[in-house]
Amino acid sequence: MSEYSVIGKRVHNVDGTEKVTGSAKYTFDVVMPNMLYGKILRSPYPHANILKIDTRRAKRLVGVKAVVTGKDTLGRKQGIWRRFPELCDEEILCRAKVRYIGDAVAAVAAIDEDTAEEALDLIDVEYEPLPAVFDPMDAIKEGAPQIHEGVELNININRHIEWGDVDEAFEKCDHIREDKFKCSSQAHVCMETHDAVASFGHNGKLEAWTSSQSSYYIQRLYADMLDMNESDIRVHNRHTGGGFGSKFELDSAQFCAAILSQKLCRPVKIVLTREEEFTATKRRTPMYYFLKLGAKKDGTMLAKEVRVITEGGAYTAMGATALYLTGFFSSFPYKYPNYRYDGYRVYTNTATTSAMRGFGAPQSTFVGESQLDMMADDLGIDPVELRRKNGMTPNYEVPGQAFIQSCGLHQCLDKIEEHIKKQGKLPPNHGIGVSAYGFMSGGIFNWFNTPYAFSAALVRINIDGKVDVYTGACDMGQGSNTTLSMICAEELGVRLEDVRIFSGDTGICPPDLGAWGSRQTLMSGNAVKRAAAECKQQLIEFAAAKMGANIVYDLDIKDRWVHLVDRPERGVSYFDIVKETIRGKDGVAIMGRGHYTPHRKGMISPAYSFGVQAAEVEVDPETGRYKLVNVTTAHESGTVINPLGIEGQLEGAIMMAGGYGFCEDQPMDEGKILNPSIADYKLIRSLDMPETDILEIDTYEPEGPFGAKEAGEGLTNPTAGAIGNAVYKAVGVRIYDLPITPEKVLKALKEKEKQTKKAKK
């Protein structure tokens, strides 16, 4: 839209030059005087009592400065669902019991990493192995080993969502399908592993640098675990080498570094190894899915019933949110008049499952979109038409749950239909599969129990007209610093290069819940916009007085020009007005504050984005191997603030979500992850990456800054489903469990052949 002078332009990220020259500094690069290096000893058992830890030999090693165990902690349990103490269940440094292979039992600080590593071998831990359970379907059975005291049947949490009368509606359906699916796990594989430098001064205050998606959460969780005031803790967010949902809970690197530093009053740095990253951080939640879907002959879907059992792993983490969101997004993006969801998260003796980009929705979208295609087949209706018939529209209320304002799903369906038609008749063994999705622009939930606004920002204009933005938002690579700077520049009427942003430093930035749930463009964006508007108002008041304009005129600022809206040629320089306004304010820099907390926006999110994806695959029926040929996505995320950023989010999501459908997996044996290295964990590399096309749909979200909404996570949802549907279109086999590997395709082809032969006989 041409009315904007900054928004919608293809700009370099504000930190781009640093990143392409190697001068960007990550926590990984932080070195401090007198700094020590830490390493963590982890449990080799999936479930065991700790009988004794003897650290004497390790402490005697030259170069070792401290060895800590759970006894050196306050024995508190951390959890991000702080409102519910029973869900805060992770000690990080275990005192009495370990619950998965990788649970931390001790940590060492030494003069270098090699010495710290050597010391780990000298710590003697006596374990009493306990019976363990790995699959949630076993863990939920009577008599299964109990992983947390007092938790019956290992059920960590359950969630119920319901509207309409599902049972009555099924009675009225012409056709009902019941299907079972299994969704696998996935590792975040951030290129920068979890790391932290923690530094306690002799004054008892903590300063920490860490690769994180939410400095505020880390600060608050540190305060909980160390029994400190949060104001005595300063968390810095440097450049962050990826997050994808893995970096907003207090992790073992952060906690152990702090415990060691507290003992020594020296900075301690811990960088997790890649193997630890795979085995001892969190991961995407595997889910067993049971779906029942009922429709009328004409394709009107009347009822959906969803039951889910998720593999929780050892602790709650953000898994409770994933359980809720997978239930809510199982209804997306359709208007089910009757809907019922029951989900159970079950503790197991495996690495904890938690948040990962898409947050439960990639699972629900894979299973839902697979089943929808089967329903379309059953009814003899075109899959796109079936989605059109039931798809959400603007101003739709999800009964009792959510209100959807902007929604461009139908335009997306039209575009994708056009795209498929354009491909004409496909070569043999090629297929195009379709998948539709929606996602939230930030969550409304406050299980963290923050007393602060969800987002807040300060904007300051200095004497030279340059603008400083302070926000607790965290840029983990998704480009929020650029997006927020653009929003500030647009609102204030200056250029992008006039804005400098300080983000994620709890010492100077107002609290913000951080980068998760696709919340920063909308929530942090609104806070920044309001803060900038407050500054602008001060300039405009002064300018109006100075210009002696008739009070019926409105003033505005665009591209550094303060002017009358109706007579833009009548104006004054922004820079002059800034100087004079500051003089008029007794020399005080111009400051604006803004905040955003959603109110009266339902229970989930203030806004939702939508899209439809078409994936083309080419299957080799001899081997089951297939190639991702092309992925075309029609999507809408409201006003596009940063087009280059959105393209990056979209293509990157296809790499990650395509990987979820195509190859990524974490096979286990008795709780041990078998592929904890990048060599063995298969992800999409450049040669596997399909061609990607984007069809942008214009929408405007009234709740978003300048009409914008999320684009970071929603795009992670559709791809696995589109791939599954494409494989079916190509060779007629349906895969019900992720990832869709060549082995599974081949097995299904052979089974199909067998059935065909049988039928002929």
Partner: protein, 159 residues
């Protein structure tokens, strides 16, 4: 026992003593002080530590520092001349071929080495050139677009 290592990094000669087991990536980061080169796996499978050793792209986590004795090493810090970015760096910026930026130094070094060896690679060759580098953010296609733009000569003046 430390041993002498004489080598050039980004044109600058260094004469230092290192332990024989030290990896090139460790010496570059910890002793030479160039932290642009990253380390993502320490097992030569992610490519974040890629540097050029005598003109060839190598993973500096799988090269002993002493193997670089007498060699010329170029790291990401050696790509720009003063404040002038190399054509590839400029193209990476224009095409959004980075997000978190942690893999970017390695990506730039692999693509720089590719173009040094083959100034007119096909798209397939470009993909092969960065196949040893993992990027978890961009999905690679923007990187291929950036390299393509350089190959087409769109950044000649930046030299």
């Amino acid at each position: 026992m430390k041993k002498e290592l004489k080598f050039k990094v980004n044109g600058q000669p260094y004469d230092i003593f290192v332990e024989p087991k030290k990896l090139l990536v460790e010496v570059l980061r910890d002793l030479v002080g160039l932290t642009g080169t990253k380390r993502g796996c320490n097992s030569s499978s992610c490519g974040a530590c890629t540097v050029m050793l005598n003109g060839m792209a190598v993973k500096s986590c799988s090269v002993l520092a002493l193997q670089a004795n007498g060699a010329e090493v170029v790291t990401v810090e050696g790509l720009a001349t003063g404040n002038k970015l190399s054509p590839l760096q400029k193209a990476f910026l224009d095409h959004g071929a980075y997000q978190c930026g942690f893999c970017t130094p390695g990506m730039l070094m692999s693509s720089t080495a590719l173009l040094a060896e083959n100034p007119k690679p096909t798209k397939q060759q470009m993909k092969e050139g960065i196949d040893g580098n993992i990027c978890r953010c961009t999905g690679y296609n923007s990187i291929i677009r950036a390299v393509t733009a350089v190959v087409k000569g769109e950044y000649k003046e930046a030299k």
